[in-house]
């Protein structure tokens, strides 16, 4: 982990993408040669409903500067309603994290379908810029030693 003054510092962003929409959207962005910042590390999950608060907080604890969770648009879930249940959990989690003082913009959510490659590239750019402005994550990062 560097500091903001360190020119080499690049934000590390963990992206949890659902297999059916957002991951396919990311795939399409790649196939279509859309440019987007290489700061995200993608983790593929079956559904945004699979994402638990543990995973998001574990990413932050392990030193991720930002987290992006992305799933299908409401109504388009492969499992009918996984993202609708998830939406309630995410809304509460993001509010709770802001309540305890995690900077708004560290943890982000989006709905991206398999055909929205351009939107995917756009969201990644937006998230990377937001996190870059916030600087390296310090809150909730566990430092060993």
């Amino acid at each position: 982990m560097g500091t903001t003054s360190d020119k080499k510092w690049e934000p590390k962003i963990v992206a949890f993408l659902c297999n059916w929409c957002s991951y396919a959207g990311a795939d399409l962005a790649g196939v279509s040669r859309f440019q987007y910042p290489p700061n995200i590390r993608i983790i593929r999950l079956p559904c945004s409903g699979r994402v638990s608060a543990n995973m998001i907080l574990d990413a932050l604890r392990s030193g991720a500067d930002g987290v992006l969770v992305s799933g299908c648009h409401p109504g388009d879930c492969h499992y009918i309603s996984g993202n609708l249940f998830a939406r309630r959990r995410f809304a509460l989690l993001t509010n709770l994290l802001e309540f305890v003082g995690i900077e708004p913009g560290r943890v982000n959510f989006s709905w991206i379908s398999a055909s929205e490659a351009e939107q995917f590239a756009q969201v990644v750019k937006e998230v990377t810029e937001t996190v870059r402005k916030l600087g390296p994550s310090t809150r909730l990062v566990k430092r060993i030693g």
Binding site: A53, L84, R88, F90, L92, V100, E103, P104, L140
Partner: protein, 349 residues
Amino acid sequence: MSTLNEKITEEIRSQAERLLSSGEVAAFLGYEAGSLPMTARPFVARKPEDVSRLVWNSFCVLNLSNYLPSLLKSFEPQRRPGEPPPEGPLPKVGVIATGCWSRNIVVQIKENQVDRERVVIVGIPSRGMVSSRKVKDLVNNREILKVIEEDHNLKVSGSDFDQEINRWDVVRDNCLTCVHPDPVIYDILIGNPSGERQVSDRFEQVNDIEAKTHEERWEWFTEAFSACVRCYACRNVCPLCYCPTCFVDDSRPQWVGKSTDQTDTLLFHILRAYHCAGRCTDCGSCESACPVGIPMRLLTKKLNKDVLEMYQSEAGMSLDEPLPLTTYNPADPQGFVLTERSEKGGGKS
């Protein structure tokens, strides 16, 4: 002239004796006097002779519904996983419930932890429980040897002082902002329901913190929670925490470190509160049990506020309504989602 609490104690004893001696219940869950002033401990009466130990006072701060699932299970014959439950009725358990405790029982019934048929709920409209920490602060932390409770006053005395305290001045914060003091479900009611309480703003403490900047909130959070010794008393007294293996005890994957490192402690408190989302009734047991006075209730209160505002739901108010996180509405607010922001004008959900 006996006090209100003495009358309630009498009533509890006679109901418990009737239930136990008629064989309607196999055990009755209530309180007995603790060994120190301002303490009351949960007590299971199993014989009619035990009922004389039952008491009721303003120091019954631990939520009795916490003990209900395990007590009910103790009366079931042992069976292997997947084996069907035995046929025929199983023994019942009697339990005392105030407003928040009864709402926790409703949550437990909805989560299949408690069988409504097997509990006899003795409802008591709550007058608010007293925070022993507040009393100690009022007498400048001198050692309290005796506390006599009257209807509206507490007579506190130690070796070198006698002080009379207005009960309402030392009632716990969660009771001060409680709007549902009456039990929502009961089989027997002791006393008269007091109706919905009017509170000017029950989320005032939460709003005060929300009004701060994120730097101030982080400072508040780290400072208020750094004293935590990870004793897990808040988890153990919580009637919502019945998982056979808690996330803090998981080792593969280990979601939360087991040390008192600041990050581990803060993560524990975030996740503990988050697991209570949409289920917490703000009974205040967690804060009452905390040995170092951490205001962890504010986190669950914040979640309660969001659940009420976004999903118009309050935990345990009815048996029919599904728990807010086990259901959804296609029109749920989603202003926090990046791709929905431009259309919705960027507002926070």
